[in-house]
Symmetry: C2
Subunit: 322 residues, 2 copies
């Protein structure tokens, strides 16, 4: 695995690789929200991306860069959900065999969608087994190439293409609010923002219960926490990566946190006023902006909605519990 | 009120009037849907339009054409929901006083949104009062101009701009599936499709329980039915209009019907797979296409999603009752 830090040039190349392959997702706005917040907010809708999340960008970019031998042997990924679907779909498009290691309690919709894309799913127990060990065993037994969910230069570069599109389309922003789990999306976004719009304040946003990123950012070293408990099931990572952390440390303005209650309020706002389905993790950036956890008044704000993959039964409950 | 039939030229002028005012709504696609149907389907997302429905187009177009005297006196509209919000928002944007006559049992979200746009809401009993009489009394007492929900040339012309955008963006389609209530959207769409893409088969789609349009189309005269019962609350009209019917009769390929169960299946598909909130009425065209009530295999299909305004509590229930 290439372990040197990716650069903006890698984001530009990923962007060319994804042209006509990934959706150029729409940027939506709401006049009534803007009037209430006293800001201009641009939502980059990666919930409307292929597989329902930005993860397709990084997954496809990483798979497209494999050599012929690697493609023939196949790939393996471990993921709580969206990365799994991303690798599964990208693998099918590139005619590569994909094996996905998923927690046994991952949302049923995510498991079914991954299998629907033709991938082989191997389950593990999130509480008693280490998913990296499970994946590494498969790699060694079958010669598979591991596609990590965030700590990989090609994955990071791919994730950065969404913010590149947003900044180009809006002509520049004062601040950006980006969901933060392992940091693939945030570090890729930082590479793009720093190159295109260096004055833009970029915030990573985590669930309160899983604030390893905030602790790490403030302490200046990677802090590992116990498995957090939040409805933001795509941001339950325990630590930033060796590649994502240095980029975040160098370029992020701050790391913010929001509560599950704030995530639910944002989720309901998106259904009721903007007519889009956003999963709890996808609401992280929005919840921070709506609650003005960093300054937004008088500013032009970008909010990345990272995904929309949520079990309908759970989603139905979220809409009811205000 | 101008009672001559609108033409495609009126749609073109409405389109210029709405430029930079209405959203140019995104066109979404789903590879997995296309693979299943053996068709290429393009969804025109008017649920993502201002006020959450296409109705903004026609409402704004009609109000923008009023003279100074009419603007100063104010306007009145009767509507089960989306037209109310459309007139309320357009009136606020054009600094016109709006009075909206709504059924007392209209969805709470629609009533609140209408008032939120600054309109004065007058309620009536849908089962015992005639909304047109209520509105006409207000017109005469206060000198207000009536903005009807569908049977008005400027409203029809405005509604036609969505399909104009869709056909221009996709470069032409084999068939179009359009929700049908009073026929404003369908007749406007027919004007646009007939001018831009005359070979395109355009279908209007109604709820099974309220098939006055289908009866009228097949008999060649406007048939009035008793107030229908369907979850498609935006298509509970009892008869087509004197302006919409002649256009529909001349240009529509056929009028189709779908069941409430088929609407719910489509609604769930949009939440689960496409990450968008579509109200039951907005699913009419999609339900007909998904169930192949007219031929779709091997074709390029346009489906107009007319709106996304639905009470969250009701929507939450719809997601659960498969």
């Amino acid at each position: 695995m290439n372990s040197s830090l990716p650069t903006y040039e890698d984001v530009v190349q990923a962007s060319q690789r994804l042209e006509g392959i990934a959706h150029r997702t729409p940027v939506l706005t709401s006049s009534s929200l803007d009037a209430g917040l006293g800001a201009q907010v641009f939502f980059k809708c990666e919930n409307l991306q292929r597989i329902g999340a930005f993860k397709f960008r990084g997954g496809y970019n990483a798979l497209a860069k494999l050599d012929n031998e690697q493609r023939q042997a196949g790939v393996v990924a471990f993921s709580s959900g969206n990365h799994a679907q991303a690798v599964a779909l990208a693998a099918r498009m590139l005619d590569i065999k994909a094996t996905i290691v998923m927690p046994h309690d991952a949302p049923a919709a995510k498991k079914a969608a991954t299998q629907g894309y033709g991938a082989h799913v191997v389950e593990y127990d999130r509480h008693n087994q280490d998913r990296e060990e499970v994946a590494h065993a498969l790699m060694q037994a079958q010669g598979l190439t591991l596609i990590p969910p965030f700590n990989h230069p090609d994955v990071i570069a791919g994730q950065g293409t969404a913010v590149k599109e947003l900044l180009e389309e809006t002509g520049g922003l004062d601040a950006l609010f980006i969901p933060l789990g392992g940091g693939g999306l945030l570090s890729g976004s930082l590479l793009a923002a720093h190159a295109i719009n260096p004055d833009c304040a970029v915030y990573g946003v985590e669930p309160e219960a899983g604030n390893d990123g905030q602790q790490s950012f403030r302490k200046g070293e990677v802090i590992r926490i116990a498995a957090p408990d939040s409805i933001a099931d795509g941001a339950l990572t325990q630590a930033l990566g060796s590649l994502t952390f240095p980029i975040i440390r160098q370029h992020a303005r701050d790391i913010l946190t929001v509560s599950d209650q704030q995530l639910l309020q944002a989720l309901r706002f998106f259904a009721e006023r903007m007519k889009i389905v956003v999963e709890p993790t996808g609401c992280l950036g929005a919840a921070a902006a709506f609650n003005e956890i960093a300054p937004v008044r008088g500013k032009r704000i970008g909010v990345l909605l990272s995904g929309g993959n949520v079990d309908l039964a759970a989603y139905s409950d979220y809409l009811k519990t205000a």
